[in-house]
Symmetry: C2
Subunit: 435 residues, 2 copies
């Protein structure tokens, strides 16, 4: 069997990891696959940086378009990222009949419908395991292992930066701002952390998972997204007292005619396995009608773990090439004609348990005013915690609710915010807890 | 595309689950696979029991050999279990050119080399995801997702019965015997629990995993196996005090010229995710050179979770049949010519941390005698715990060691057992802890 020829676009962190695996574990891969994976070209504009790899003469080039146009190359691995040049290169590669491996969740979440349609038309495969959960085989699990299951729900910790920051605040009591700085110093957060800490990266991943699990078109724009930048050590401390931990969750649930799909910080019981996923690690739980709950756990980012998933995808395609087949498994898990537009339920219609924290001046009647507003909107309280004033400042009033509708909670917050005894904006954190 | 025709051998618990999924999620499977999975025959000697499924006329028969000889049937699912008739049927099916799905770990661990050779010769696929870890896609993960990794170690909780019993003892302090009775009452243990509680079932699974991960021939006989029937509430209590939990572990580690492969109860740090896998649940951690650690978690047994994995395998083969291919991925993860005989390191040569508990009469000099023997054999102690006598009975002396060689520990135990101050057989539990 002749070698499968690969072109790698982008040799940054993950791209370098991919090249390293293809070189260092070359014999291992051959002994498992029965053919070699030959890295014909690596394209990156930065041809100076020492990546610790000795590329053979002529392998490293600067022009990515030369790679996607090379008739000898079978598989293109896109590791450039971003939504402009990467998209152009992927579409060109598809048009040239090449199979594509990518980890580009932002691109797939926003332009996936177009890209997958183009690939289906050309009969080429798009593999993207590394786009969600880094090394965890969550896409393969949903698409292949759970093929006989009606998937009912998924809950994921899918962003290492956020999980690192929340773990730091939980362990040390420092502020979000300080924890973010620590994350940046340790290489767990980017200089501009917006995409991660505001939840958008998690939303990209949830878009992809929801599509795979439920047979729905990719729909990023309807996912509710709330990040972690407002999470305070005080709320994490209260959460602890009530037996919860705070995590940034990707949550998705399936019902007959809609799905829930939302990203926000949530309190989960300390005994829950997801509560114990700390630092930059990721985990995702999938609930299916046959399988019950299964959980995958591992490094959601980083050079080598992400590269491991990219190589897994590349081998999957190589095995198909060796047998002269393609499209063995539909990219989005369902046959194209079965992919539906399923509406995402607006966040206002979601029912949840809630944690509220109000900062109020310590005056008589405050509690009665707040609880009156909540009661009028049908929000029933499970417990109320008010500590006596220790200083002259405002006192925190903490409430946990029974199941309530988000729309009513928002109305109540509007009214409560306007009370003249409120000294700060009220805090709301959703609680994910089976009762 | 015409339907793929399936014959199911054995309609007990898991077999019934498989039939249920194939009937109830028929449309779902078709929308994902692009063809139907048609259950042509189900064979079971028990044709009376109501399984809650309406089989069509002529589907349910008593003769399993009729199924494997039916030229129309593409895939045979063996759910009979045991090592006699199941083996005969599988070999017959292979000989007839049929692909086989099985969950029969005992058979694969003992006769797998023969079965896989026969399958390779005939060019048919043998799929066995459900043989290890029930619903968890551990075989697919090792074989496909981690294909670019040198796998260095695996640690698994692979037997739900043992994990249920150990969790019960940990939570309630009852004896092994009482906990086993509870497990039997709740359907988590068989009437004859030997295969489970003595660790053999776990050893079968570890045999399969080691082969897949390291490219070695299946080798059950050299795996060290120790069950949980000697675990007492007292040792579990001591473990708690030292920050450990006791689990029955399948442990396997790879070095250049040998593997470690052993099954025994072990203490693991309470903060370790595996420590928090409770009840009948299973989990397995895999360490690879690129991926770092990844953990899969889920139901390791039970009708529907196991059936979920069987259906996943069946669909994998169906997808190949639809494209006219087979042997896309080698059954044992490595190409046949790369599967080696790798020796399993004898338990005596293993280095470990140990927990010892000695029951000694409360006489002067006991501690010095015991520690003298240990010192002479180079076993160095990390800590010693001796409580003052509360009654007239023997006192427990508990010791935790630094890394020591098992051979020396065994010699020491021989000598210590012969001391006339010893009132009971000494207890040894290995500690799996990275220092």
């Amino acid at each position: 069997m002749k070698d499968v020829k690969i072109g790698l676009l982008g040799c940054g962190t993950v791209g370098t990891g991919v090249a390293k695996i293809l070189y260092e574990n070359k014999d291992l891969i051959r002994s498992r696959v029965g053919a070699g994976l030959f890295l014909k070209h690596v394209a990156d504009l930065d041809m100076e940086t020492d990546r610790g790899i000795r590329f053979e003469e002529g392998v490293f080039i600067s022009d990515a378009f030369q790679v996607v146009d090379d008739p000898e190359i079978d598989i293109v691995i896109e590791m450039i990222g971003g939504e402009t040049i990467a998209k152009e290169l992927i579409l060109k590669a598809i048009d040239n009949g090449k199979h594509v491996v990518t980890a580009n969740k932002a691109l797939l979440a926003s332009s996936g419908n177009e890209i997958f349609r183009a690939a289906a038309k050309k009969g080429v495969d798009i593999a993207f395991e590394a786009s969600v959960g880094g090394c965890m085989p969550i896409i393969k699990t949903i698409r292949e292992s759970l093929v006989g299951n009606r998937i009912k729900a998924m809950t994921g910790i899918l962003n290492g930066t956020c999980n690192y920051i929340l773990s730091k605040i939980t362990d040390t009591g420092i502020s979000f701002k300080k924890a973010l700085e620590k994350a940046q110093d340790s290489g767990f957060a980017e200089a501009d952390p917006t995409l991660d800490v505001e939840g958008f990266d998690t939303a990209h991943k949830l878009t992809i998972l929801s599509s795979l699990a439920y047979g729905m078109e990719l729909n990023l724009k309807d996912i509710y997204v709330e990040g972690i930048s407002n999470i305070t050590p005080m709320d994490i401390e209260f959460a602890k007292q009530f037996g919860y931990r705070i995590k940034l969750l990707a949550i998705s649930k399936y019902s007959e005619n809609f799905v829930e799909a939302r990203v926000h910080p949530a309190m989960i019981p300390a005994g829950n396995l997801l509560s114990n996923v700390n630092g930059s690690l990721n985990a995702v739980s999938v609930t299916g009608d046959a399988v019950g709950d299964i959980i995958l756990y591992g490094h959601g980012a980083g050079m080598m773990p992400t590269a491991s998933a990219v190589v897994g995808d590349t081998v999957d395609i190589a095995r198909n090439l060796m047998l002269g087949i393609s499209n063995r498994i539909p990219s989005l898990s369902y046959q194209v004609e079965h992919i539906r537009t399923i509406p995402v339920k607006p966040i206002e219609e979601i029912d949840n348990h809630y944690y509220f924290r109000f900062s109020a001046l310590d005056r008589p009647g405050v509690l009665s005013k707040i609880s009156g507003i909540l009661g009028d909107l049908g929000i029933s309280l499970k417990s109320v915690h008010q500590k006596g004033r220790e200083s002259r400042g405002p006192v925190p009033i903490v409430m946990l609710t029974h199941i309530a509708k988000e729309a009513n909670v928002r109305k109540a917050f509007d009214q409560i915010s306007k009370l003249d005894v409120m000294s700060d904006a009220p805090v709301l954190i959703r609680i994910e807890d089976e009762e």
